[in-house]
């Protein structure tokens, strides 16, 4: 099944009033749309996405789509998309009311009419969802970069969504619903019903907490993603400032090394202090006196006397006493009474352990001097603080006021980012303990608690058999899900690397694995924590092309600035890969993307392509109007936008300052 975008139209919005026709001679060739910066690429991309799934617009969001120039502001506007699925045309329209800050959807019907709601044709309504659209309509910088970042799960989610692994979750949810339904049908009465209600209340609390933690996880990931560039760039900036002077760099490295040694000594002295405190009896203290007195008292009393008790315990089990006389009940009771004055063998064991520990520690007595350890701690702390201060002083002397402010910002960011990372990597994954309750922040623990409550509910409602079967099936499905994810990720990794090898670039990066994010490695197989913008863009596009190829459904792939940061070789190879794509391709480009990309694409594909230029009409773009007239594409005088469908025009079009802006 093939799904293509044919045309879109924007009227009265923040972006100019474009009417962009993608199909050429009723065919949807790969299309490059040249839109200079400031023309509304990002707005257009977000409207294309939102026109294909039901989005709930907030009033602020609606207002953001209104024209920003006073003379262009209109009370109402719309964005309309025309698509084709299996040769059948359909429309989706978003109507904006900027006065009320509201908007509504309209969709075409099979009989050629319109209905006032969001709706897609049956063929695709079950297949297309927000996740797929977000995945395939890509702002390279915003959407691809996170796929490589630690703490982000974009790549894993892309595989799950596109390879439909998420479907297994639906089966699991269905099984869960079935189990609950059966439980509710098996009505219980009296106190059992009250117990069920209590457990159900607890289950609801656990489910609410799971939802809360999942939301918090998303917020944490979002925060880490949004602050990553600011944090890394800030750190790089400060580092480059400090490393500019090789002498200063050497001094800093030297101080850093000394600081690390001092830190290690300080940590060791604190740990040694704490371990000593726990070794009661090895340092001078009232505790030592008390415990040694206690042990010597035991020795004086010849305690423990376990052997004696053991003797009596053995004796009462015999028929006759050691003297040979018969042991009747009376005599036996006398022996038991006597035996009770001795401590039990178990207690004797405890006393022995106490004595052994004290005796062991006594051997180390006087080895530890807490006063001396205190002095060591203070001395190590002083050395550490001195190095910290020296580093601070040297750093300060090299940085401007702005840099110092930046340094403070980065320090705060680092602290907050560490907290978020701790939450994502440790807190949410802590194993279950019996002390945990429904306020736990560990998803592992909450899921365990949920299972326990469900088991209890099954017991109370006498539906254990169903519960066990569902649990069994769920376990199989979860294992299948996990295995599929691993297998598909491995297959995609191999396929991506095959494509990357075909690119035959100098100093290439490869995909090491795709777990939560895409992990990179160099030619020697050594892990690389990150690639350059161009390298990541290249691998990101190849990743998307690879998962698109796996699908029998041909969705359009839309990329905003597809070759940003790539060198000329990589651009050419990317053009070659895109030319082989079965799905529709639309690329938003600016002038700097054309060299060795759109021109090479033209050479590779002859006429099976589409080159479109769109620009906002303003006083300073009059020269483009003149140029367009030369190509027999005169603009409409009253329109604030113009669209030209001509490859030569596409090539000649160049907005002043764009190259410069790009290279920043």
């Amino acid at each position: 099944m093939k799904f293509n975008i044919i045309e879109w139209k924007s009227v009265g919005l923040r972006c100019p009033d474009f009417n962009i026709k993608i199909s050429k001679n009723d065919k949807t060739f790969p299309s490059f749309i040249q839109m200079p910066n400031g023309t509304g690429k990002t707005t257009t991309l977000s409207l294309l996405k939102r026109s294909l799934y039901n989005h709930e617009f907030k009033s602020k969001e609606v207002w953001d789509y209104s024209a920003k120039k006073k003379e262009e502001f209109k009370k109402e506007g719309y964005f309309q998309i025309k698509c084709e699925v299996e040769g059948k045309i359909f429309y989706s329209k978003i109507n904006f009311n900027f006065e009320n800050k509201t908007c509504s959807y309209e969709s075409s019907t099979d009989d050629g009419g319109w209905k006032s709601e969001f709706s897609l044709p049956n063929q695709i309504s079950r297949i297309i969802n927000r996740e797929i659209i977000e995945l395939l309509f890509v702002d390279l910088e915003k959407d691809i970069k996170p796929m490589f970042r630690e703490n982000q799960t974009g790549a894993q989610e892309a595989i799950k969504t596109f390879c439909k692994i998420n479907l297994i979750d639906r089966f699991i949810a269905d099984l869960d619903t079935y189990k609950t339904k059966k439980r509710k049908e098996n009505v219980q009465r009296g106190s059992t019903m009250n117990e069920i209600k209590t457990e159900e209340t607890r289950e609801t609390k656990i489910l609410n907490q799971i939802e809360k933690i999942n939301n918090k996880i998303e917020e944490s990931k979002k925060y880490l993603n949004e602050t990553e560039d600011q944090y890394k760039n800030g750190k790089d900036h400060l580092r480059s400032k400090l490393e500019k002077d090789s002498n200063i760099k050497k001094q800093l490295d030297d101080l850093q090394k000394k600081k690390e040694d001092a830190q290690s000594n300080y940590d060791k002295s604190l740990l040694s202090n704490f371990n000593t405190i726990k070794k009661i009896g090895t340092y001078e203290s009232d505790l030592k006196k008390e415990i040694t007195d206690f042990v010597s008292g035991l020795d004086d009393m010849q305690l423990p006397e376990a052997e004696a008790r053991v003797f009596f315990e053995a004796l009462i089990k015999r028929e006759n006493c050691v003297c040979g006389s018969h042991l009747d009940d009376n005599k036996r009771n006398n022996i038991i009474k006597e035996m009770e004055s001795f401590i039990s063998s178990d207690n004797a064991g405890i006393i022995s352990q106490i004595k052994n520990s004290i005796n062991q520690n006594s051997k180390e007595a006087s080895l530890n001097d807490l006063d001396k350890i205190s002095s060591e701690i203070q001395e190590n702390k002083h050395i550490l603080d001195t190095y910290i201060e020296e580093i601070k002083y040297l750093t300060k002397s090299q940085l401007t006021k702005e840099d110092l402010d930046l340094s403070e910002v980065i320090k705060n960011l680092e602290k907050k980012r560490k907290e978020e990372e701790l939450f994502l990597k440790v807190i949410t994954k802590k194993p279950y303990t019996s002390r945990d309750d429904e306020n736990s922040e560990s998803l592992v623990s909450l899921n365990e608690q949920k299972q326990k409550v469900e088991k209890e509910l099954a017991r109370l409602s006498k539906t254990q058999s169903i519960e066990e079967k569902v649990r069994y099936l769920t376990r199989i499905l979860e294992e299948a899900k996990r295995d599929s994810e691993i297998e598909i990720s491995n297959e995609i990794t191999i396929e991506c690397n095959k494509k990357l090898k075909e690119m035959a670039l100098s100093n290439p990066l490869f995909v090491n694995s795709i777990n939560e994010n895409i992990k990179l490695e160099n030619m020697e197989g050594v892990d690389q924590s990150e690639g350059s913008t161009g390298q990541e863009a290249r691998i990101g596009i190849i990743f998307l092309l690879t998962i698109l190829e796996r699908s029998s459904i041909k969705f359009p792939l839309i990329l905003d600035v597809p070759v940003k940061g790539m060198d000329f070789d990589a651009r050419l190879r990317t053009a070659q890969f895109i030319s082989k794509l079965d799905s529709q391709f639309i690329g938003f480009v600016i002038d700097s993307d054309k060299e060795n990309f759109t021109d090479k694409f033209k050479e590779i594909t002859n006429n099976s392509n589409n080159y479109i230029t769109c620009y906002r009409r303003e006083d300073e773009t009059k020269e483009f109007d003149d140029l367009a007239k030369n190509f027999n594409y005169p603009p409409h005088e009253n329109s604030n936008a113009h669209v030209v469908y001509d490859y030569e025009f596409f090539n000649k079009f160049k907005k002043e300052g764009e190259q410069k802006e790009e290279s920043k």
Binding site: L270, L287, K289, F342
Partner: protein, 166 residues
């Protein structure tokens, strides 16, 4: 039975919880700190209480509703017999029993120890242990003027003085 940390002292506004007191010098906040577990907090307080022979009444305090451990965690297994010994010694002394009164000492042992309990102690003895823990925590609170210590090195320097002075 199990270990518990104190949360509140009834009718005492100055009082801060054990968790809040140790929070700034826990390893989570200060990576140099050896105070990693709740058990560390408990033990540090208990030793000060035992050393200074200071007990507090349990009824005057509220504990955290969750017990932080049912048994000594692995890192603390070595201290278990020492604590047990110190508690027995205190109980014997407080009962006014002379070290020559063997049968009375043995009675104390029988009443205080429970080999089936992971702590080796009967419930009443565990309560006594918590009384000393509270006593030690109150001494620490007093030493730090009811404010959490801000520096782990300062904490241990003061702590060493408290624990080692005869």
């Amino acid at each position: 039975m199990s270990f518990k940390l104190v949360e509140n002292k009834i009718d005492d506004n100055k009082f801060i919880s054990c968790k809040d007191f140790f929070n700034p010098i826990r390893s989570k906040k200060d990576k140099s700190s050896p105070i990693k577990f709740d058990m560390c907090e408990f033990t540090l307080c208990l030793l000060v209480g035992l050393k200074n022979d200071r007990k507090e009444l349990l009824k005057d305090y509220q504990f955290r509703k969750d017990n932080f451990a049912q048994r000594y965690i692995d890192e603390y297994l070595e201290i278990k017999p020492l604590i047990t010994g110190l508690l027995l010694s205190k109980i014997i002394k407080n009962a006014g029993i002379d070290r020559n009164e063997k049968s009375k000492v043995k009675d104390i042992m029988k009443n205080a120890l429970d080999s089936n309990d992971p702590l080796f102690l009967k419930k009443e003895t565990i309560d006594i242990m918590h009384q000393y823990y509270l006593g030690g925590f109150c001494i620490l609170l007093n030493e730090f003027e009811y404010k959490p210590p801000v520096d782990v090195s300062v904490f241990f320097t003061k702590y060493n003085k408290l624990i080692s002075a005869n």
